[in-house]
């Protein structure tokens, strides 16, 4: 293939890639999400600029050159960059698939995807940090100047391109077998370990190497370019080697044991939906991950509260108490109906099945409150919290916070991909965002005010009373939610169908 055709192909593939991102169903149906994502990227860029300015100024007063100070730790930035790429980038072997049957040389397509991996906006994103930092610490220094600044930026960019190809090797191998993840873990652990033992070797080495970029030392640039070239060809070899395996890849079908859970049979239809909830957590990657992270966060906060003097007074005291009880619900219920979107037609073709499902979910989440309750016994017994505060949170969560979160069942209409392994496209909508914020901070404010005004005993008792009202009336508010859900059913069903397998 001549260069002209190669360039044409490169343009076409780039255009397809842009369209696939732009037309992702998750974004197409959710304008808020689209704007939110752009805002988050802009926020991150501002955050980087802010840190660049702050660190640039802070390091100016140091005993060594400001840029050298940062450059000593450049390896940590590269390690950070390496790991966050796992959540965002596929391997070219996965991307080549749609082009495989076309009359285009596979070699050319792999080259295009590899070049695109280096020539990628992502590799320049860290420049939002380095440009202001370099401007303050290099460009403005009389003994460095603008040429040195440009050399520094080009060097940093080349290092991130190098990191992209380094990441790609491990990402490809990990796709073949998860055991390969141990190699970068051990490599980086050893690197940091050695750095700690012999600081000169790693930190001074990094500093001198980066100084080479600033001084336009051709050897430094040549060394990085050579490494990029070597890694590029290693990647080329790996991608071609694993291309057919990636294309023909089939998931190993695991046999599962049917779980009867007969202890739930006594609860009739609700018991059946409870079984469904438990199986959904046990058998779906995404749901299991959310469940485990919710559980871990709850346990971490409970342990901090129980065994450390942190958060002993003021607003944080209230924050932790409410957080321990509410965090699991907030993390999981904000996506309520996301799992069910996968089989919404089946649910909707059976009478009131969504109502039974919502009730089962409510009982499940109440049962889950046992974990923070047991964890909070220790801080209550040591006097950090009163029993009234504990009871207040225990009842306020299912009586007032959960109903707010369950309201999202009316508005959520994005189907959750249950089998995705690497990353779930975030499905936050405007309603999810505001309700989860309200569910978190309104109870905190309320408890803080009540405890301030009435003391912990009466404050806790008022919260308990409010919560009990919500729990006792759960059939009423649940039916009201179901009624609203049915009013919006057509819109929701259509969106669930459109985002299924997205």
């Amino acid at each position: 293939m001549d260069f002209k055709h190669f360039r044409l192909l490169y343009k076409l593939i780039s255009k397809n890639k842009k369209l696939s991102e732009k037309r992702h169903p998750m974004f197409e149906r959710n304008r808020f999400m689209k704007i939110f994502t752009y805002c988050m990227v802009a926020f991150m860029a501002c955050y980087f600029i802010f840190f660049g300015v702050v660190l640039g100024n802070a390091f100016l007063d140091g005993s060594i050159e400001a840029c050298d100070m940062l450059n000593q730790g450049i390896v940590f930035l590269l390690i950070f960059d390496f790991w966050i790429r796992f959540g965002m980038q596929e391997t070219p072997a996965q991307e080549v698939k749609p082009y495989k049957l076309m009359p285009i040389p596979t070699n050319a397509i792999v080259h295009i995807f590899l070049i695109k991996r280096g020539w990628n906006w992502y590799n320049v994103f860290f420049l939002f940090f380095f440009i202001p930092f370099g401007f303050i610490t290099v460009a403005q220094m009389p003994y460095f100047g603008w040429m040195c600044f440009i050399g520094y930026m080009v060097g940093v960019w080349l290092l991130f391109v190098l990191n992209a190809y380094w990441y790609l090797i491990w990402r490809t191998l990990i796709n073949q077998h998860i055991i390969y993840i141990l190699v970068p873990i051990i490599f980086y652990a050893a690197l940091i370990g050695l750095g700690m033992v012999a600081t000169d070797w790693l930190f001074t080495g990094s500093m001198l190497f980066m100084r080479g970029f600033i001084d336009w030392n051709p050897l430094c640039f040549l060394a990085v370019l050579l490494c990029i070239l070597v890694l590029y060809y290693v990647n080329l070899w790996l991608q071609k080697k694993f291309l057919y395996e990636e294309i023909a890849k089939t998931e190993k079908v695991k046999k599962v044991k049917s779980q009867e859970m007969s202890f739930l049979n006594r609860y009739g239809v609700i018991g059946e939906y409870l079984k469904l909830e438990i199986k959904s957590i046990a058998r779906n990657n995404v749901v299991r991950k959310i469940f485990l992270s919710g559980l871990i966060i709850t346990l971490i906060f409970c342990s901090i509260t129980a065994f450390t003097p942190a958060y002993d007074g003021g607003f944080m005291h209230v924050f932790i108490c409410v957080y321990c009880f509410a965090v699991y619900g907030i993390m999981t219920l904000t996506n309520i109906m996301g799992v069910e979107g996968n089989y919404i037609d089946g649910l909707m073709s059976r009478k009131e099945s969504v109502l039974s499902l919502l009730k089962a979910k409510y009982y499940f989440y109440i049962a889950m409150l046992l974990i923070p309750t047991l964890s909070m016994i220790a801080p209550v017994s040591t006097g950090k919290y009163t029993i009234y505060e504990l009871l207040g949170c225990l009842f306020f969560t299912p009586g007032c916070i959960f109903p707010c979160l369950f309201i999202l069942a009316i508005f959520n209409n994005t189907t959750m991909n249950l089998t995705q392994k690497i990353q779930q496209k975030t499905t936050n909508s405007k309603a999810q965002f505001f309700v989860s914020m309200a569910a978190m901070f309104v109870p905190m404010g309320l408890m803080y005010v009540l405890v301030m005004l009435l003391g912990s005993m009466w404050g806790g008792l008022v919260m308990t009373a409010l919560g009990l009202i919500g729990v006792v009336l759960h059939h009423v508010w649940m039916k009201a939610i179901y009624k609203q859900f049915m009013i919006r059913r057509y819109e929701n069903m259509s969106s669930f169908r459109a985002t299924r397998n997205a």
């Binding site: 046999k255 059946e272 996968n342 073709s349 249950l418 089998t419 069903m493």
Partner: protein, 246 residues
């Protein structure tokens, strides 16, 4: 079942537009038509899974009359399978059938009895495999959906493209299964299919859809039904254009 001034529009495209159509009790109605004719849209509208722009679907039983968008009571005697959106795919087929049985208040023994009846149709590849539904082949997923729709012994059964993904033996088994079910229970059955042979074999009535309109409603008694339908589909194919392009 009566469809009255039923219309569904997606953007500028009229997906379905039916002034009046009645499906009688005990009919085995086949919907045939090319892609985009409106078969699935019609089923979704009947099952209240889509909002019509105008019109409504009324189901009459001996005791009552139900407008499908206004009440959910008709769901108790209706069974349907359209696509994988009906299946809870992280359950095994056995768990799924048990779930369907329990939410419909059907005793376990009765479910087991029914599953025995469908054993031939499942050809030993569905139950007892300890595989999640999502890990089954498309054909076996289709079988799970069809059996699940039949479990509550519905008096109205709606199946969209039930012969899709099935191997030839299963297609024939499916044909007998529907015929027997109709004979034994007197249920009203609505099926859509691109497989003309099977559809014409089992249906007592065939509605021909084109661009959202029912352009012809045949009864099995019409002697020229098969010839006319075949002629219709033949007429849609422009041999000359294809051969010239080829």
């Amino acid at each position: 079942m009566q469809l009255a001034t039923l219309k569904k529009v997606f953007g500028d495209n009229v997906a379905l537009d039916i002034d009046a159509f009645t499906v009688n009790s005990g009919d085995v109605l086949g919907l045939v038509g090319n892609n985009g004719a409106g078969k699935t849209t019609l089923f979704r509208l009947v099952l209240d899974l889509l909002k019509p722009n105008t019109g409504e679907v009324t189901i009459k039983t001996e005791d009552a009359e139900y407008i499908t968008s206004k009440t959910e009571d008709w769901k108790e005697f209706t069974g349907a399978h359209i696509d994988s959106g009906f299946l809870i795919d992280y359950l095994t087929p056995d768990e799924y059938f048990s779930f369907i049985g329990k939410v419909n208040n059907i005793p376990k023994e009765e479910i087991d009895e029914q599953l025995k009846r469908y054993a031939d149709f499942m050809s030993g590849e569905v139950c007892g495999q300890n595989k999640l539904i999502r890990n089954l082949s498309a054909g076996n997923q289709q079988k799970v959906g069809i059996i699940a729709a039949l479990l509550n012994q519905p008096s109205l059964l709606i199946l969209d493209e039930p012969f899709n993904f099935l191997d030839p033996s299963s297609q024939i088994a499916m044909k007998y299964l529907l015929e027997d079910y109709n004979k034994q229970t007197g249920a009203t059955i609505m099926v859509s299919s691109h497989n003309l042979t099977h559809t014409l074999d089992i249906c007592t009535r065939v509605a021909l859809l084109e661009h959202g309109h029912i352009i012809k409603d045949y009864s099995k008694a019409d002697t020229d039904m098969i010839a006319e339908i075949e002629q219709y589909f033949e007429g849609n194919v422009h041999h000359e254009a294809i051969t010239t392009e080829a």
